[in-house]
């Protein structure tokens, strides 16, 4: 088995939300009056060590604000660690809050190409794929309609269809598994099943512990940016639940 994701002693410092200084005037005045403070930083990830093997399904659990989504962003390369290093082998497809990158004024077709290019495909490839994507999202009749003209359910379907049309080696999931009405949810689940069977590496964040236990083999438990436990999914979930109960 090949190792596809490796994090070594990864720490991340971020500015805390209260400290966001968005004002030139204020900064300048506080500098003049000598009250300027360097923005405070908070340790969001604390010396994380992690190795994920090819084909492994890893669940990440922990309370809100424990750094789960941040960890996914570090793996995707969206955030650079302050210390330590991250190594990823293979194509990563992020599937985080679908449809967030759409431009409402552009047509569905243009958005498919735009989104695909952002995800690393060429325009040509996306134009070829567009038909299948529209078909899956059941939006064939809406190809030239601006995205603002779609219902929120349709937008979610489109986002899911684009992001899952490819079969990446590594899939990153943040609480999105199925969208739309019941019949579309069935389709989503079938597609996700395929990913699971296709030996793709999957890293997912969820608060649905049953889902994690059912679909992952390994799990990690994060608490306040620290890795509390890594191991078999049942043991990790038990530890997490015991921690919450007491």
């Amino acid at each position: 088995m090949r190792e596809v994701i490796r994090l070594e002693e990864v720490s991340l410092l971020r500015r805390t939300q209260e400290e966001l200084s968005y004002d030139f005037k204020k900064t300048l005045l506080s500098l003049v009056s000598g009250k300027y403070r360097k923005p405070l930083k908070k340790l969001v990830l604390d010396h994380i060590n992690l190795a994920v093997q090819e084909g492994e399904k890893l669940g990440i659990i922990g309370a809100n604000g424990s750094g789960k989504s941040t960890l996914l962003k570090v793996i995707c390369g969206i955030l650079q660690p302050t210390a330590g290093f991250v190594r990823v082998r293979g194509e990563i497809a992020p599937l985080i809050e679908l449809g967030a990158g759409f431009d409402g004024k552009l047509s569905v077709m243009d958005n498919i190409v735009l989104y695909g290019v952002m995800l690393g495909f060429s325009r040509q490839e996306m134009k070829e794929r567009a038909r299948l994507i529209l078909e899956f999202a059941e939006l064939e009749d809406y190809a030239l309609v601006p995205v603002t003209g779609l219902s929120s359910g349709m937008v979610a379907r489109l986002g899911f269809a684009i992001a899952t049309d490819v079969q990446p080696n590594i899939l990153i999931l943040d609480e999105v598994f199925a969208v739309g009405d019941e019949s579309f949810k069935q389709k989503c689940q079938q597609r996700m099943e395929k990913f699971w069977q296709a030996h793709a590496t999957i890293v997912l964040v969820s608060h649905d512990l049953n889902f994690i236990q059912h679909s992952c083999s390994q799990a990690i438990y994060l608490e306040k940016g620290q890795l509390k436990m890594i191991g078999k999914v049942d043991e990790v979930v038990n530890l997490y639940l015991n921690g919450v109960m007491s």
Binding site: F24, I78, P94, A100, D110, V117, S122, R129, D165, N169
Partner: protein, 267 residues
């Protein structure tokens, strides 16, 4: 479902180009809603301003332009074309990184592509709208295709200058959200201090030295020399514009790169 092949030959450069293309296309499509005729709206502002300045200052200043109102019109027009391009493209670049914050939080993207693509969209618009007008003026005044071709050099300098400033202000806007207010002041100072609607000769010598720090001055001078003087293109003027714009581009890019790692905490 298809399987992505990890294709490392597909170089970073190609990915940049694809991104640049779709982002430019996006901003043009959103702006014009399918009708490229909309590009000609961008001519309205400089033409109207030229008419206004000529009506007010033409009679007074024409003695500096061989006593010809037509020469004043052309001088005002060429100056306006340059300064208008500068202010609209850099103002659009300014918000570009923050505006795409949602995307940057979802997908790993080279952030510099956002200000660059805003400048790119403006260049495209310029090529359809203003460039033909400028080329015709040049051809009529100089009777020389060399001058028409040489026009591209100061215009390239203008693009580089705007890209450099675009990098700088888009990065700064991540940290200071009240920047548009200050940037409006800066563009106004640049606009007043470039001899667009007044002749450079009326500026007192002591002040004139300060005007040389305005990055638009060498570009406007070079454009006017090439398109209006009737003489062959002046290499020295073109060189000045080229050097100052390259320095500005380098300055903007270096600061953008330096500050870039802090962006994600703030957007």
């Amino acid at each position: 479902m298809k399987v992505i092949k990890t294709n490392h030959k597909w170089s970073e450069l190609q990915r940049y180009w694809e991104l640049f293309y779709v982002l430019v296309e996006r901003s043009l499509k959103v702006r014009y809603r399918g009708s490229l005729l909309g590009v000609y709206w961008s001519l309205l502002n400089p033409l109207l301003m030229t008419a206004l300045y000529t009506a007010i200052f033409g009679a007074t200043f024409k003695s500096y332009y061989n006593n010809s109102t037509r020469d004043y019109i052309l001088a005002a027009f060429t100056g306006l074309v340059v300064s208008h391009f500068f202010s609209s493209s850099t103002n659009q670049a300014l918000v570009s990184v923050v505006e795409n914050g949602v995307l940057l939080n979802k997908i790993r993207l080279p952030m510099g592509i956002f200000p660059v693509s805003m400048i790119g969209a403006n260049v495209f618009q310029f090529c359809l709208g203003m460039l033909p007008v400028l080329a015709i003026v040049t051809l009529v005044k100089s009777h020389s295709l060399v001058n028409v071709a040489a026009l591209l050099i100061p215009l390239l300098s203008l693009t580089l200058t705007c890209t450099g400033i675009g990098f700088f202000v888009s990065a700064l806007y991540v940290f200071f959200r009240d920047l548009p207010y200050f940037y409006e002041l800066v563009t106004f100072v640049l606009w007043m201090s470039s001899p667009v609607f007044y002749p450079a000769e009326i500026v007192p010598p002591a002040v004139e030295k300060l005007l040389m720090f305005n990055p638009l001055v060498p570009i406007i001078e070079s454009v006017r020399q090439i398109s209006l003087s009737g003489a062959l293109p002046d290499i020295i003027l073109m060189g000045k514009a080229g050097i100052s714009s390259s320095l500005i581009l380098a300055f903007g890019w270096i600061l953008f790169r330096k500050w870039q790692e802090q962006f994600m905490d703030l957007i």
